[in-house]
Amino acid sequence: MKTRLVCASFIALAVSATAACGSGDDDSSSSGGGGSAKTLTYWASNQGSSLEVDKKVLTTELAKFTKQTGIKVNVEVIGWPDLQNRILAATASGKGPDVLNIGNTWAASLQSTGAFMPFDSAALDAIGGKAKFVDASFKTSGMAGQDPTSVPLYGLVYGLYYNKKMFADAGLQPPKTWEELQAASKKLTNPGKGVYGMAMEGGSYTESLHFAFIFGQQHGADPFDAQGKPQFTTPGMVQGVKQYVDLMSDGVVNKSSVQYKNGPEAPGDFAKGKAAMLMSQNNANNTLQGAGMKSSQYGVVPIPTKSGNKNTASFVAGINLSVFKNTKNKDGALQMVKFMTSPAEQEILDQPFTALPVVKGGKVKFTDNPAEAKTFADILATQSVPLPLVPAEAAYETNVGNAVNGLIAKAATGQKPTDADIKSALGEAQEKMATAG
């Protein structure tokens, strides 16, 4: 037993050391995974404009929860680059928080660690029942056929942002098909003036993976078969990747965006009028408005599909809420989950965090533009599918995302990737999945 404890300390140390994580909150580590009956620790992901803003918002809201229940919540807001490694370290050491945010694409992978509390029917009843959640969002809660280990908290989906003035000046309407999008991109591209039809985060493997999946879905391709085995080289997958990479090959994207990661560069180009369109999630509003663009200057439509293809416009993105299995305050944790997913709190939190409500009947509050609100809500409800809920999701994201990044880099440096190139890159990614989950 002692040996295990010492070993657990070592692995936690090793994981934490590589995590390059921040200093953290003393409270969270000391009381994690089991605060007293009157205390909970909560790891929140960074959703708003800064860690400080998030902490302020959450502290204010959770004070209401404390008032209602007498349970104090110690909040720590963690930036995205650190969150996954912090969760892994907590999982290895067993010293985690009571409640935490996870990216919903990690739900299946984290579920397979066994470190999270399953929301069985009793737990779901305690938080208000499964039926209170938007169906599409709830599908991201965990693997099919098992009790979920997370529930939706903030909803995000992709939309196509377009610059109203640039479209009007060019006599264009927002595109309804991919062919129209390509034509509009070409018409609006003027490299001499540094203006392009589309902005792209070509250096982000997560973004590349998202679009490989969305466009693959449009072509009717699933990355995994019914047994969960990868099938990345099917014609639909290849055509899906090609659809995305061709934006770079066709020259409608600034080649420099091959260096853009998940930062402010691509939304910044759009906000400054250097790109006429941007495919992004609804939380781009914060960045766009922060860069000086007014909400009246842009419109949003669903990402279009090639004529005749499926009309999938997004995957179901967003943030879920999980409870660590070893919490000593399960009831308190469930009360907190119920509080955070209550319609009233959703309306409040969705504004600073630019999120869609994940509960049925919730009002879209992150924008004052009714058309934009309706578009995003409709995309979530009717045109979104979850990313594959397989244990190897993390490896899928890495391997396919990097393969697509490599193809974009090839296109940016002047070599248009062929179908064979794409199939070969995806085949390599598939082979690397050999040991993943």
Partner: protein, 323 residues
């Protein structure tokens, strides 16, 4: 001498030498050991402990399924090692590629850092006006926080507004539209940053070594007609040998294991040309969540470095003895 020995022998037989008194570790004699003990324990805890756990992990199927109960991870036998060393398979192939990139990177960075550092040390060895200022300036890269330095380079390597492309265009060496952080150029960018980071250390060590060479040796060589190159070949380099043995070994180990440079420049998933082995292992362990396989690659890396270091020290010490 012989007579004395013969005479001494019977005396020794008659009067056996007094038994050496057993030193008892008590009081003041124990103090040094007690003072060292915390450091030894910490060293064991911080270095050897995780290393042993890493070796154990390399023989386990340690994926996300077992991380919360990782001591129960099933045995993988040698499977992780087989995958890593199967150079026809995708994982082995990518490890081999990463290894080759790392070797090239290490050799280039160590060699160029040494040449630049040695040149600067030779120039600054002689006294002249402004030498102090130059010495201080040369040490700036070494003194600057690594993260800040590499971040600055990443800005300079940007395609649109980066200083490197601006200078390239100003000098008429291109159109100023090169990609430095994407494709094959990423390797050169990474190496340049590492050389910038390493050469001041080489400079510092070699300058210290140079100042230990007596002037009289150079004077004598000069009287005998030795020119600058002969002096460097037959005086400077042999005198610097002990410094170089340590310096080259340290530069080799640092750069072979370099994580900061590629991670800050490219993030967790670098371009293929800059896929250094440390980041490769990180990606497999912490991005793809395959900790057992990552540990196996780490152990192989450790063994490689132990062999290379041992061989290097053996060869250099043998040559020293011959000299």
């Amino acid at each position: 001498m012989v007579v004395e020995t013969v005479k001494a022998a019977p005396r020794a037989a008659e009067d056996p030498p007094p038994r050496p008194r057993r030193r008892r570790l008590s009081g003041p004699r124990l103090t040094p050991y007690l003072l060292v003990l915390p450091a030894v324990l910490l060293e064991l805890l911080v270095h050897f402990g995780p290393m042993l756990v890493g070796v154990w992990m390399s023989f386990r199927k340690l994926t996300q399924f077992f991380i919360s109960n990782w001591s129960q991870a099933p045995s993988a036998g040698l499977a992780n090692y087989r995958l890593a060393l199967d150079f026809d398979g995708p994982l082995g192939k990518s490890l081999l590629h990463s290894f080759q990139v790392t070797i090239l990177y290490t050799i280039a960075v160590v060699l160029i850092s040494w040449v630049v550092g040695a040149s600067a040390a030779l120039v600054l060895q002689r006294s002249f006006r402004g030498r102090g200022l130059l010495r201080t300036l040369f040490l700036v890269p070494y003194a600057m926080p690594i993260y800040a330095g590499i971040m600055t380079w990443s800005f300079m390597f940007q395609r649109d507004n980066g200083l490197v492309n601006h200078v390239q265009k100003s000098l008429g060496l291109g159109d100023g539209q090169s990609f430095w952080l994407v494709g094959n150029n990423a390797f050169f960018s990474m190496a340049i940053v590492a050389i910038w980071r390493c050469w001041p250390f080489a400079f510092l060590m070699l300058l210290a070594g140079l100042q230990n060479i007596p002037d009289e040796v150079y004077d004598a060589a000069s009287v005998d007609g030795a020119g600058v190159w002969k002096q460097i070949r037959y005086i400077t380099l042999p005198y610097l040998r002990p410094v170089n043995v340590v310096l080259i070994l340290m530069l080799f180990l640092w750069n072979f294991n370099d994580f900061n440079t590629p991670f800050v420049l490219f993030g967790p998933t670098p371009p293929k040309s800059a896929d250094l082995i440390s980041l490769h292992i990180y990606g497999n362990s912490f991005v793809s969540w395959n900790f057992g396989f990552g540990a196996a690659m780490s152990v192989l890396l450790l063994l490689f470095l132990l062999v290379v270091t041992g061989l290097y020290l053996f060869l250099t010490s043998r040559r020293s003895r011959r000299a």
